[in-house]
Symmetry: C2
Subunit: 240 residues, 2 copies
DNA sequence: TTAAAACTGTAACGAATGTTACAAAGCGGA
DNA sequence: TCCGCTTTGTAACATTCGTTACAGTTTTAA
């Protein structure tokens, strides 16, 4: 049993304390009282580091041998292209764990470059220490399994979505999912531009597809409001 | 502590015994001795069920509240379309765990329909009992975390692959990955048809793309054998 | 109210790919 | 060797989508 390595080192300006009342709202520590969490953290090694806005947190390719949790502020994950061009993948705010799928598994390298989008604090727990936590507390074990499983499920969903080839299929799938079992098929949507980005297509192409589907009597489009008129035909679109 | 519920029920012909020497080669139980595994299984409830070739194992949509491990034979996973048309997703042979990402997480339903592709035996461990195993044995915990994390990583890779829009980009990414750091860029491949299926494109389209890339001096194609001639240009293809 | 910005609808054109079809080349077994 | 099967190369045509451009509409802010 040991105290945090740096509790005595608060004079170093890139170090700070954990905030149990914030961390316990993180998916990994959900359901644990702030007091209980503080007690658990006294039994393991960890660090808390501060980052300024724009500062690099981890570089893509670095070995991922520690769990990082955003305790304060927000960070973004970017993927580096073959040339060096970066593409933003994800935004993450406190309290949120980073790269939970890369702490274990075959490929223990960060797939993305992470940098702070505002002044931020991150808690860094070495893998071995985190395993201790998992063994100490069944709730954390369950939370972590849920987190990582939910991520795998999310990816599976995204893959399924990408398996729809045409824009009309994507629209149909999206609308049918949104409508669910409701037979009153009045649906509201976000902006067309955002929808297009989510579908990975251009805005004019999405508008054209919507227009054609309206002409075919499948839906009724009024700017941001879309009404499903013919669920049967929509389903047939997805059969291919 | 209790014995398997059905050790005494061997007269029922759809029931069988576990085979520790096979199961310990499964990703979940890797590194555990057959004897150790047999002992662990004596401390939990579980079932072993036999299936005939073609028989249904689980239906898509069923609640996933147990871990299934193929102990003998092989099964296939199929996704059901909106209409009822099925698409084969994956083949799995013994000893392999099924749907490890759906035992935990938000969506506790099987996303696929599983059926036996040969006479098969599956070990079924209720979720609660499996959690016991995770707590009893740190190796199993580590194995399971690795399994599910590796799956998430695999899906991430597949998503990245799908993010390449054109066929030429997919080819370039595939070949550069395959070539790795080897500068002697002689590469062997599988059949064009299989490659096309893997890329999610049609065979003639793939052949056309290969032909064009050969004409541009990027590669040299001789049926199943592909030689990379210009790595720099290949990389530029991926910058887009 | 009014001007600027953001959003939406639409059109023409070109690039990429699917579809279909057919011929040539390799491969295996009788 | 010869026949049949699989794989590969190629071509013409249709479809889908991206690109670019522009005009009309709605929202926002001054």
């Amino acid at each position: 049993m040991c105290l945090c390595d740096f509790v005595a080192g608060k004079t170093l300006d890139n170090l700070a304390m954990i905030q149990p009342e914030i961390l316990c709202q993180s998916p990994v520590f959900r359901g644990i009282s702030p007091e209980g969490l503080a007690e658990l953290f006294q039994q393991i090694h960890y660090q808390v580091k501060s980052y300024q806005k724009g500062e690099l947190v981890v570089n893509a390719g670095e070995i991922c041998d520690r769990l990082l949790i955003v305790q304060e502020g927000s960070v973004k994950a970017e993927m580096t292209d073959y040339s060096g061009k970066t593409i933003k993948i994800e935004d993450m705010s406190a309290p949120w764990p980073l790269a939970t799928a890369f702490l274990f598994g075959r490929e223990n390298k960060f797939p993305v470059t992470v940098s702070a989008t505002s002044d931020a604090q991150l808690v860094s727990i070495p893998k071995q220490e985190f395993v201790k936590l998992l063994q100490l507390n069944a709730l954390i074990l369950n939370n972590y399994l849920n987190t990582i499983s939910t991520r795998a499920q999310f990816l599976t969903q995204k893959l399924k979505f990408l398996s729809f080839k045409t824009i009309k299929q994507k629209i149909a799938h999206y609308l049918l999912d949104l409508a669910g079992d409701r037979l009153q098929t009045v649906e509201i949507a976000q902006s067309q531009g955002q929808l297009a980005e989510m579908f990975g297509v251009t805005r004019p192409s999405l508008a054209r597809a919507l227009g054609e589907m309206a002409q075919e009597g499948l839906i009724d489009v009024d700017r941001r409001y879309i009404k499903i008129l013919d669920k049967t035909k929509m389903n047939q679109l997805l059969i291919g």
